[in-house]
Symmetry: C2
Subunit: 493 residues, 2 copies
């Protein structure tokens, strides 16, 4: 764990604001400086998007959001910080002057990270008093959701600085990729530039419109690249003979006529007009914010999908989620809930993709809420991943759900859990699902049995788990038997 | 609807075999010709992968798989077919000779589609007797999962042919993208070639390894490109000022030094060795088949995720799924089930991403099976999307699940549904979830109420729906009351 917790961001464009959101969503207080008069408005829009995205990104308890302070000057923003993220426009002279300014207000140990998408760190650090503190940390839009951050050191950068910064970004749910040698545009943007050049030719020559080029990407290799990259995909494209065969087979194509178009097309007014017009035709039916939210929803859905497969960016999300769960469990233990009342076992908003064609939360998601609530109760009494690996698990044997009211996407919901009986192998609970406004949406009575995962037979939990459950059920014994409990389907209620 | 149902494939490489799988999975019989002695073995491996993938791709009833015939000669393969898919190696002379051969055995109206990834259709059709029948249909690996197919016409291609072929591929769950002008490598491969050139330089110059380049893609812009392409993503990267601002801001970068590297790097033995070695280090811990299956699982998860958001390739999958549901409903109506027995309302395999950390089907997915079974029953009695739009819907008010046994990923499952009461506003059903081997896994008793979607109040179903449900419940009246029905949690069973 690095202990970076005091951060300043200089520049409130799309990237700067994205950094602010990423930091705040991870509980870090941020001081932001940007002289533009509309900076606050723009940042608020990005923070709103990030807030919306993080409500859906994971089912783990969300970190307490950090605070944002708009600093009236760069000096006040960087004062007392441990890391300063520079996200000003792509001008070497401007960036060098910003570093000079920052350095005059901070200690020598403070890390300065540049978000540049292409300028060499060795150039950036040329005029610095303490050049060893500067590195490039190049993120990708939307910064609060995409994990990649390219870490590039200049000739004078201290290896300690790159390591500390890389670890810090990883803790924010990002994926730090150290680049071996500095090179203009680093790695990802070099690939993007190549595609961009080629795409400009295709539009200019009337081969395809912007929408058609996008379709050629997102219905084909874009789907591959969300999970494997170029080389791993081609390893499979070559058939079982593998990579060497692939290169041997397709290498000659590199010399074919289509490699002629490697020049940069001239960005004439006409070409710019064509692109802007085609882009409007393609995406103009959505407002900028709508399109951003569509993108975010898709990214979240893809990240969650890959998380289930424990692959690539999904694996990164899984690790991040685990850290949030762990932090949440520590916090739960620390709160002073009334032990005589049902426990708060779930608190979240309804993800939009949980709704059915009737436009309310899908039937099976009610059971997911209750199952997640049972899991939260179990984690709380010590049945975590380690316990499951060593000592068994609880299996649900019966559930009786009563659906009492509807709930729509993005509405806040919570579950409380009353332990009716927690002694021995059986665990009998009663969950209540509430809307944030207090309406009771559904109840579920569940019977769980502790199972030995080797024999798949009922078994006693460990004494420690038993002790916790016995304590909770004793504390809940004074509560009334819940309405709707112990009844069969169709009994009046 | 096109009526293409008799298809031949010439060439059984990765692409040819992928086409065979795509056709068969859509109920089309395929004749395949490939003179290679190991063709059958290689095709079987691809078909096994496709079979595995289609078990998970959608919850809709799967089409009855088409048959595959290995033809001993090209002549026998193409005999009597309506469309011949050519997927032989990328040699103009070879392809031209194959077309000559095909044409000598088929009628003038038969469509010939080439899978070439870059040769101009005008060149391909140069020596043909009926050049109007040839088009390029360029798919992407894995052909059975990725939707994109570039449709490219040559100078002599009949527009009728491109339209018919495009419609045909769309019916197979693909996304036909007509390319406006023919150009070497068309659109997608031109972009891919640009990235490939750039990536070769990065490896050659030691900037990044193959694994690092792949990470730069799949943790960053690859995630964007699975759902939006280049232009729509950049529209957002420019901030609210939009596309014109983006180009104005980043256009100058095109003239920066990093655009120098547009030449083609020489594919020396050393470079090939480096790539093959790095690729082994990156992916060598997986067998070729394992890696293919990881890729397929990821693609399915991404497609399903995008389907929920009704976006891009997910929208394509959604339409395809709807067509399968419709076909399944037609088939259900046509079968001669015993009306006095519980109805078969669900039949599928357990998707791997439905399993929990205990490695069996996740608790909430049991309710999804039962909810889907109720939906299937409702579709059968006329409660489809049109009905919901006009006349209301059934809401579940109570569910009592008993979990009796576990089931693992990819196991076959089915649900039968007994209608206990289907008269009036109430629908009382009893579902049984079975393993394919006959084991009872769970039961669910459900009470549903017909609801007017305007008032959100209980209402009578239409007379037609009522008539169907009354008929089914009358036919089921003679069945025994199911074991476990009408009981409360914890009652002995």
């Amino acid at each position: 764990m690095t202990d970076i917790s005091r951060v300043a961001v200089i520049g409130a464009g799309v990237i700067g604001a994205g950094w602010v959101a990423r930091f705040m969503e991870n509980g870090i207080d941020v001081a932001l400086f940007d002289p533009a008069p509309d900076a606050a408005t723009k940042v608020k829009a990005v923070l709103d998007n990030a807030d919306r995205a993080y409500q859906k990104l994971t089912m783990a308890p969300r970190a307490k959001r950090g605070n944002l302070e708009f600093s009236p000057s760069l000096a006040e923003a960087v004062q007392g910080k441990q890391l300063v993220m520079e996200a000003v426009p792509e001008s070497l002279a401007l960036k060098q002057s910003v570093y000079k300014d920052i350095e005059s207000h901070v200690d020598a140990g403070v890390i300065i990270a540049s978000s540049t998408s292409g300028i060499l760190p060795t150039q950036l650090q040329e005029k610095m008093a303490n050049p060893q503190r500067l590195l490039v940390a190049h993120p990708f839009n939307p910064v609060y959701l995409l994990p990649l951050v390219e870490i590039v050191a200049g000739e004078q950068t201290s290896p300690k600085v790159t390591v500390a910064a890389g670890e810090f970004f990883n803790q924010l749910g990002m994926y730090s990729l150290p680049i071996r040698k500095e090179i203009d545009a680093f790695v990802a943007d070099r690939l993007l530039e190549a595609v961009w050049r080629e795409a400009l030719w295709l539009v200019k020559d009337g081969i395809a419109t912007t929408a058609e080029i996008d379709d050629a990407i997102r219905f084909g290799f874009g789907l591959r690249w969300a999970q494997m990259g170029l080389f791993e995909s081609y390893r499979l494209a070559g058939g079982e003979a593998g990579m060497r065969h692939f290169i041997a087979q397709f290498g000659p194509c590199l010399q074919w006529p289509w490699t002629k178009l490697t020049d940069v097309p001239e960005l004439t007014d006409e070409l710019i007009d064509t692109i802007a017009r085609q882009s409007d035709e393609q995406s103009g039916q959505y407002s900028f914010r709508e399109l951003e939210r569509i993108r975010d929803d898709n990214l979240i859905a893809i990240l969650q999908a890959l998380k289930i497969n424990q692959w690539g960016a999904g694996e990164t999300l899984g690790r991040y989620e685990q850290a949030l769960f762990d932090a949440g469990a520590r916090e739960e233990t620390a709160t002073d809930e009334d032990p005589g009342q049902p426990l708060l076992t779930l608190e979240r908003t309804v993800p939009p993709d949980w709704t059915d064609y009737n436009n309310h939360m899908n039937e099976s998601r009610y059971l997911q809420c209750f199952a997640d609530a049972s899991d939260a109760l179990l984690r709380r009494v010590g049945v975590d991943a380690d316990y499951v690996a060593d000592s068994g698990s609880y299996f649900t044997v019966e559930t009786h759900i009563r659906h009492l009211d509807e709930v729509a996407a993005l509405q806040p919901i919570k579950v409380t859990t009353q332990v009716l009986n927690g002694v021995g192998k059986k665990l009998h609970v009663f969950h209540r699902l509430f809307h944030g406004d207090g309406r009771l949406l559904a109840t579920a009575e569940q019977l769980l049995i502790h199972v030995d995962l080797e024999s798949r037979k009922a078994s006693e939990p460990t004494p420690e788990v038993s002790k916790w459950l016995t304590e909770i059920s004793a504390a809940h014994a004074a509560l009334d038997m819940p309405e709707g409990c112990g009844r069969a389907i169709g009994d009046p209620h």
